[in-house]
Each structure stands twice: as C-alpha cells, then as structure tokens.
C-alpha cells in the first residue's frame, strides 16, 4: 500500500514548511529587529521622563506637552521645517536643470558626469561639511570670488555661522540626492515620445512642458522627498557651519541626548520629527504614484 510513502511526504511537507517559515523569519525578522525595535524603544522612551537625573519609567505625555508649550522649541521646529523647504526648493530648480543637462549629453560625457555626482556621496559627510566651511568663511573662496568680480569690497561674514550657511551647505551636500532620481526619470523617457511630440508640431519648449516635465515628475518628487527629509533631520551641518544663529531642530534633539541627558525628551522630539518625515514620504508616494503608470 501507499500508506508509508504518503506519511513520509507529509512529514517532509511539515519540514519544508518549517524551513520556509525560518527563511521568512530571517528575511523579514532581521530588518524588523534592527529597524523596528530601536524605533519602538524610542517611542517608549518618549513617554517616560527624567527626574533628578533619574529615569522614571512611567507612561505620560509630559514630553509632548512640553514641546507644545515651549515657544522656543516650536519656533526652532518651524524654522527648521521652513529652512528644509527652502533647501528643497533651491535644489529642485538646480537639480532639475543639472539632471536635464546631464541627460542631454551623449555617451561617455554623460556617464562621467553621473560618476562625478556619485563620488561625493561616497565621501565622509564631515569632510564635505568642513570643505564647505572653508569655502564660506571670511577668507573663503566664495568671498574671494565675490571680491574678484567686484560684488564685494571687503570680505563678508554673512556666509558662515548663521542659517544661510546651513542653507548653502545643505543645498550643496544634498544636491546629488535631487539630481540622481530626476536623471533616472529623464533617462527612462523613451526618445520616441520626444520625437512624437515634435512630430505633432510641438516646439522644444512645448515638448519639455507637456511631455518631459510631467513624465519626469515622479523623479522630482522622490528627489524632493530625499532632500526634505535629510535636511530637516540633519544636525552635523548646522552644528559645524551654523554657529549660534544657525540653531536647528536636529541640534535641539542632539543636545537632549548629548548635553542635557534627557533621553525621554530627546526621544519625544525625534518621534515628532519622524512623524513629519513619514508624512512627507507618504505624501511623496501619493504624488509620485501616477494615475496612468501601473494600469
């Protein structure tokens, strides 16, 4: 009879299912452990409080209430989000122009330019910021250039240790994050669409406005999202080039951990920023998901 054979198969099947579950646990479990658990820990921390340097593990919304009551925290929060918006707007214009320029080059030139964009991404973040600090300082190249072309008669200290310095630094450092997704989106537009547009009588500008721009919009949305999220949470650039006048939300969070040793409050501030970042990502996802692409 086939009885024993069937039993073996059933046992094998159980074993296979076990192996499959283990595989799934590893694939989804590891990221969950390393990403979700720290985030959840932070979330839990944000409901606790510190009293006399001692952590009090009691649930409460005190930290959030404190954030909402404090004018200075809300001001820094609003100012940081607005500054991130400015950085994103500047990079959207510069990044789109650069991506368009690169995508219109041919063959080797194009890929050398893309490579030149990627190399800074591999460099240390701190080195890049120090380089910017040198560039923007009183004796920096920016001042020298402006004096050389006669726009300034003496070096200006407007470019360092204030919010403008933070804006410029973040714009420069985050520019590749804007250019790359737009470049990819532009590259994915088949030439036949541009030919068809011109064939139907559209001028180059009309083709850009009606075909290129709408079809590359998902890339621009992705780039803007990267820029905004990275700029709003950054604390190193403001720390190094912002001085006292360039205080941002990221620095506020940092100081709760590094100086005030008020981890619960720092965690609450982080959770608030995380909420903003998640909202931006969700919004970007909705904007980038076109009505036509996946049908």
């Amino acid at each position: 009879m086939s009885g024993p054979g069937l039993q073996t198969t059933a046992a094998e099947r159980t074993r296979e299912r076990g192996a499959e579950l283990l595989r799934l646990a590893l694939i989804f479990g590891l990221p969950a452990v390393f990403i979700v658990i720290p985030l959840v820990t932070f979330l839990i921390y944000s409901f606790w409080r510190v009293e006399d340097g001692q952590l009090v593990r009691e649930f409460g919304l005190g930290n959030y209430v404190e954030f909402l009551r404090s004018d200075s925290y809300r001001f820094v929060f609003g100012r940081t989000l607005f500054m991130s918006l400015q950085v994103t707007a500047i990079n959207l214009v510069l990044g789109y122009a650069a991506a368009l320029f690169i995508s219109q080059r041919r063959g080797r030139t194009k890929y050398l330019m893309v490579l030149a964009l990627i190399v800074p991404l591999l460099m240390s973040y701190i080195i890049k910021i120090y380089a910017m600090r040198g560039l923007l300082g009183t004796n920096g190249q920016l001042n020298q250039l402006l004096m050389a072309i006669g726009l300034l008669s003496e070096p200006s200290d407007l470019f360092l240790f204030n919010l403008t310095a933070v804006r410029i630094t973040l714009s420069v450092v985050l520019l590749p994050f804007m250019i790359l997704p737009i470049f990819v989106a532009l590259e994915r537009i088949p030439a036949s669409f541009l030919h068809a547009s011109a064939d139907l009588g559209a001028s180059p500008w009309q083709t850009f406005r009606l075909v290129t721009l709408p079809m590359s919009l998902p890339g621009a949305v992705a780039g803007a999202m990267f820029c905004y999220v990275l700029a709003s949470g950054d604390f190193l650039a403001p720390e190094l080039v912002g001085g006292t006048r360039g205080f941002t939300y990221g620095r506020a969070v940092f100081s709760q951990f590094g100086m005030a040793f008020n981890w619960p409050f720092g965690a609450a501030l982080s959770v608030i920023l995380l909420g903003v970042a998640m909202s931006v990502i969700l919004l970007a996802g909705r904007l980038a998901r076109s009505r036509w692409a996946d049908r």
Partner: protein, 383 residues
C-alpha cells in the same frame, strides 16, 4: 499653400546616410506622388526605416536633399514639417488620455479646448474608437493603440503620413483587418501615405507602388503587379516568394514577337515584351515563377512539344505536399527548378525519379539584365 492642395509631392534627391564607413543609404532617388500609398519594402537592416526617419526629420542625411512641393525641407526641424508619423511602438503619451493624445497636435497649435475636443471626437469616429476618449494608453489593446496613433497623426491634417511598420506588433488576424482599414482610410482622407514594412504580402496588398530596398540601395520601384511579375533584379525576383532564375544570353528573334535565349538548360523562347531594349548577345537572366511552370509525364521517347512554348526534360527530385499546393523540384541538366502545382486529384501524381517535361509559356517570367543570382534567402533576414 492653397486649400485645394491637400497633399503634396515628395522628392528624395541623392539622399545618403553614412555612419563612419558604414553606408546605411546610398544615393536614394525617389519621388512620391500626391495622394499615393507608397510602401518602402526591404529586409531588416536594409535602410528602409532610415529613409522614413529622414523624411520625418529625426535623422539628418549625410548628403542629398528632400523636397516637398518643390521646397527643400532637408534642414527644416521636425516640428515645422507638414508630415506626421505613426511610430512602430505608437509612442502614445502614457500620462495623457486618448482624447488628450489625439488632441495634442492641435493643443500645441494653440487651439481652444472645445474645438480640440470636437475635432478629436470626429477623428476618433473616423478610426472607429468612439467611447474610449477617457482611457489611458495602458488600458488599450494593441489594435486600439494603433488607431489612436493614427488618429493623432490625422487630426493635424498633414499632407503626408509616415508609417513605420505600424502593424508589426499585431497578431496575424488583426493585421489583416488593419491592412484593409488603412487602405480604405487612406482613400477616404486622400493623404499621401509612406509606409515602411518588411512584409511582402502587406506591401502587395496595400500599396499603389512599392519601393524595394536592399543594402541601402533602391532595387526597384513600381506597382505591386510589376514588382511581382517583372522584377528587375535577382533580389526583387526572389524577395517576393520563390523564383527560378535561369542564366543565359539573347540569341535572335526567331519569329515576330518571339526571341530565342541560349541557356545552360538549352534554347528557351521568350516573348518580345519581356525583352524590349536588349540587344543580341546580351547576358540576361530569365526568372520564372514556380506557379507558372507545368509538369507533364514523358510518354515513351516522345518529343512532342505540346501546347507550351518551352518544354525541358528533367527528373523529379522531391515532392512536398503541403495542403492545396505541392512543391516539386525537378533536376534539369545542371539546375534545379521549382514548380508549384495545385494539389488536385487529376493533377499529375509525380514521384521522385519520374521523368517529366517542365513547361511554361514564353510570355511568363521576367528578364533581368546580366547574370542574376538568388540574392535573397529568407533565413538570412534574421541576421
């Protein structure tokens, strides 16, 4: 430009395209008459699409000029040419609905939205696509996309429409229906069509004239019947189905209207209208279609000529039965000739090894100058 001259005459004058040392097109001279349906036909890599792209303005010719109604348009940018293209992949804008795609050409001309929609509906009715106005291209079938692409070109009222293998992506049944549709549409709208394809049947079925191109050179331009029955090169003779090429030379006129050729298979007669313009002694190739050839059994040692003008003795090599048509190859002297017989019960049931007489009329076939060879083999096309 007056309102009456709806379509115009297009002339290519010595147009060439070189990429480095590679010659894609070499000295193309072609004129397309107003209101004509002209097909540019050739195997892949022959340069046919390059011609279309140069007319459309997507590729610049290395030398030569393109005239439209006597005006040189060689350097006119794409968007200023009074031509529209139906692309092979249709190139419908994915982010626009059907009606937006169709109205695009009018939109960039600055027409009012209401007028654009009215005319888009008219053109969509012309291509039988009413009711699909608000769909996106991704929601359409291949045949529907094809008609949207056509409507998008038609709405601009161009004087010339360029079609780049527009039916290549459709299945056989749909392709046949679209062929008839395209042809009747072209008559109705009275616009010059230049149609590129590698499909011989498509070309024969739709065109007023066919321009056969191979290796960047025009082999022959003419109406379908002429290109099929009177090929002027070995390539053309063998590109449209099978053909028997018999090399020889003109000997003399034996009686009014009949010439004698000396060939490797012996003397062959050939009627006057095939040979006009050739002198005695000129090397020529006779191309005879397999379907023009008849086979007769040799009864005893008889040498009766029968009713046919040419009768050559041969031996059957192979018989391939494939439904309505049987292909029979016959060894005649050094050469193998192919005959296609209608598979009827009363037809000669030949078998390999049978002695037969291969016959055809002196008016059947075509004369090609020089010693032509079989230039085209279908299996070469994939390379």
């Amino acid at each position: 430009m007056t309102a009456e001259t709806k379509s115009g005459r297009l002339v290519l004058h010595g147009v060439s395209k070189h990429y480095g040392t590679t010659r894609v097109l070499d000295g193309i001279d072609l004129s397309v008459e107003s209101g004509e349906f002209l097909t540019i036909l050739g195997p892949s890599g022959s340069g046919k699409t390059t011609i279309l792209r140069m007319i459309g303005g997507f590729t610049e010719p290395t030398s030569g000029s393109i005239l439209f109604d006597e005006v040189d348009v060689t350097d006119v940018p794409i968007h200023r040419r009074p031509f529209n293209t139906v692309f092979q992949d249709y190139a419908l804008f994915p982010h626009m609905t059907v009606v937006q795609n169709v109205g695009y050409g009018l939109r960039v001309r600055g027409l009012r939205r209401r007028e654009i929609e009215t005319r888009a509906h008219e053109v969509l009715a012309l291509v039988a696509l009413e009711g699909l106005e608000q769909r996106y291209p991704a929601q359409l079938s291949g045949g529907q996309k094809q008609r949207v692409a056509l409507a998008r070109a038609l709405i601009c009222e161009p004087r010339l429409i360029l079609l780049d293998e527009p039916l290549a992506a459709l299945d056989a049944e749909l392709r046949r229906r679209m062929q008839q549709f395209l042809k009747s549409l072209q008559r109705r709208v009275d616009i010059t069509f230049i149609y590129v394809t590698h499909d011989q049947e498509e070309a024969i079925g739709m065109s007023d004239r066919i321009c056969v191109i191979n290796h960047g050179v025009i082999e022959q331009v003419g109406p379908p019947l002429e290109v099929y029955y009177r090929p002027r090169s070995g390539f053309v003779a063998t590109f449209f189905g099978d053909n028997n090429l018999i090399n020889g030379r003109v000997v003399e006129r034996t009686e009014p209207g009949i010439w004698r050729l000396e060939t490797g298979l012996g003397p062959i007669t050939c009627s006057d209208d095939l040979l006009s313009g050739y002198e005695e002694g000129a090397p020529v190739t006779l191309a005879v279609r397999p379907e023009a050839i008849g086979l007769r059994a040799v009864v005893g040692a008889g040498t009766e000529a029968g009713e046919a003008d040419n009768a050559l003795r041969g031996t059957v090599n192979r018989v391939e039965f494939s439904g309505p048509i049987s292909e029979v190859t016959v060894q005649v002297g050094e050469q193998t000739l192919l005959a296609k017989m209608t598979s009827t019960v009363s037809a000669l049931p030949v078998q390999p090894g049978d002695a037969v007489r291969v016959t055809w009329n002196s008016g059947d076939g075509a004369i090609i100058a020089g010693d032509a060879e079989h230039h085209y083999r279908p299996d070469e096309e994939s390379t």
